[in-house]
Symmetry: C2
Subunit: 372 residues, 2 copies
DNA sequence: CTGAAAGCGCTTACAG
DNA sequence: CTGAAAGCGCTTACAG
């Protein structure tokens, strides 16, 4: 008999309709911004909604309109967390992925879509988890290395899929940036401008398409210029700072003669390499030049500032969403319309800072406020 | 008349049932892992699912089971992006938020929940956007400063809500870490151990509860120890590196005498402060000691390494999800059971590194691989 | 163990 | 402009 204001079940569109003295169809119409309902009706409905604190149920909406207004994003989590409750200090390796997601989300928002994120552990591929998330969204964006090619093909039969920096091919669109051009330019800069004759490339995950391209482009160009480029197992990193540290320590422990310049597969690795070098009293770039790839924000804050290749990370994410959005809307518009592009490649740019041996830029411009 | 394998409409549970020669109820049962269906039946269903590439629709599932298995997370985006298509270099300020989200997501996953993320711009409070997201999930986790207290109260009438580092109070639970204790300890360390007599606190957002507590605790303790603590408008930052830079530049431009130590509201600010100091030829900690708060990964990579207060960021997120999850399940279990805790406070710890004036730790232990 | 049927809360032709 | 009704794709008592 109590009339507490908070019943255990939230108000539905029926409650609103009753309170406003209209049909649920009318409520639905004002909810969706149709210009149908006449002002008087609309106001009554709006009031009822406000009084009741009504929030339309997204699931019901999605079910009847056949659009969830949700896109799923699956990315790779680096280290497990089942280490007794304390979290591994994994975050550094995720900067890249977070930036990518940010780019996706910002553009998605403009289209009324929200992001459903799902990180998967490297060790345990859980196609099952990905299936679940697929059922909760209108389309999927897959970061690199989260699912096998076969798995991607399978899931793509159900929802539109766009991959990021993936191998491309198949039924899904792939968005990436141009690694080859900039790596060749970097090689030229190091060999021609700085005159280094003995260089090396520290690789990222061996199965990363981006890594493969970066390594090959760099080595090819170095060789073409008549210089030496060390590669192979001893130079196999894993995109992490720790990986870079281990490689350098290992080399030094073996008494190897370090190359004059080390190009790393990404900024994280370069960070680790610089550390290991410093720890052994070696100067960057005096003794060994070091370069990265990505141009994450911290690259500018390192001492010496990191020479690297800037990748338009957020734009990649933004582009991926745009392609996916097109696929989603085209899907519902039946007509197979235009096929989604197989691959989109965004431009990159060599950023020359200090770690390659170039002179530092004026201090005043180092840290700008983003806007205004 | 064509029988293309990819119809424009994905298979439903009816298709699976027909193919397996069972009722949709049976399909539903194996989908949900009931032990009902006998092995033979189950296998037929499983095969049909595989052959059809069937993925159950999350919206339909949510609608009938009254559980979406989705939690929403709303966080603050720092800078707008309507600057003509290029993205602002905002990412640094988001490290904290990303870590928080990671903590939430990892624990949520274990409970079969996915994260629906939604960033809101500082400038434009969009309660409307938050309503939409509320309709798409079973519960909401709100970062600090994303919605007014009134807005939070309103939305909490509809879905369970947990706030992060918020002011607490009201019907929602709040999860935060203990800023006061560590800031007092920091003050003692700076004044007692290092003997600094003139210090300052650079504030974060004035309306951030955490910031208020940090500033007050620090200043009170410094005063109690008989030392001087500068505060006020001249020391008002905004949690960003750029904010820290401007404050120091402004002070130096005015010819002010800098304090012997500057405690910053967070690591980002400390990063900016260190930069501005270096840019004017001042040594940290030789001329001015600098400290942060958070202990983000980069704090360890700065030169000098940053003395700061470690906050268990991911654990905060994890805890928030746990509380929310309890509220969600309690909700459906009708009985108002146990009230959710009004506030949960996690412990912090002072991390003494070099920027406060302490000697550097051995180089070898600086960069560890997270696991193994 | 299995199936027929109701119902979750919306949207959207279809009539009026 | 407005309402009655069907239907979106599942889950879940309720019978058998």
């Amino acid at each position: 008999m109590d009339t507490r204001s908070k019943p255990d079940t939230p108000p539905t569109i029926y409650d609103v309709a009753r309170r406003a003295g209209v049909s649920i169809a009318s409520v639905s119409r004002v909810l969706n911004g149709r210009d149908n309902p006449r002002p008087a009706t609309r106001d009554r409905v709006l009031n009822a909604i406000a009084e009741l604190g009504f929030v339309p149920d997204g699931a019901a909406r999605a079910l009847s309109s056949r659009l969830k207004h949700v896109v799923g994003v699956v990315f790779r989590r680096v280290y497990g967390t089942d280490d007794g409750g304390t979290f591994a200090d994994e975050s550094e390796s995720l900067l890249f992925g977070d930036q990518l997601n940010r780019g996706i989300e910002i553009v998605a928002q403009r289209c009324g879509f929200d992001l459903l994120v799902c990180s998967v552990n490297i060790d345990e591929r859980m196609p099952n988890r990905i299936t679940t998330i697929a059922g909760k969204c209108d389309g999927l964006i897959l970061h690199d290395q989260v699912l096998s090619a076969a798995g991607i093909a399978a899931i793509a039969r159900t929802v539109p899929v766009v991959t990021l920096a993936g191998a491309g091919g198949g039924a899904v669109s792939n968005v990436r940036s141009d690694s080859a051009g900039s790596m060749r330019e970097l090689a030229r800069h190091l060999v021609m401008d700085h005159g280094y004759g003995r260089l090396a490339y520290i690789a990222g995950h061996a199965d990363s398409p981006d890594n493969v391209v970066r390594g090959r482009s760099f080595a090819d160009e170095v060789h073409a210029l008549g210089a030496e480029c060390l590669t192979g197992p001893a130079w196999q990193g894993d995109y992490s700072a720790a990986g870079g540290v281990e490689i350098v320590r290992g080399l030094i422990a073996l008494g190897a003669t370090l190359p004059r310049a080390i190009a790393c597969a990404n900024d994280q690795t370069a960070l680790g390499v610089s550390y290991a070098l410093a720890e052994h009293g070696l100067d960057v770039p005096g003794d060994v030049a070091v370069t990265g790839f990505d141009d994450l924000p911290f690259a500018r804050h390192l001492r010496p500032q990191l020479t690297t290749v800037r990748q338009p990370i957020q734009e990649i994410g933004a582009k991926a969403f745009e392609v996916l959005h097109t696929m989603i809307t085209a899907d519902s518009a039946s007509a197979d319309a235009t096929e989604p592009p197989a691959e989109i490649v965004l431009p990159t740019r060599l950023i020359r800072r200090e770690s390659c041996g170039c002179p530092p830029e004026p201090a005043a411009s180092r840290l700008r406020r983003p806007i205004g």
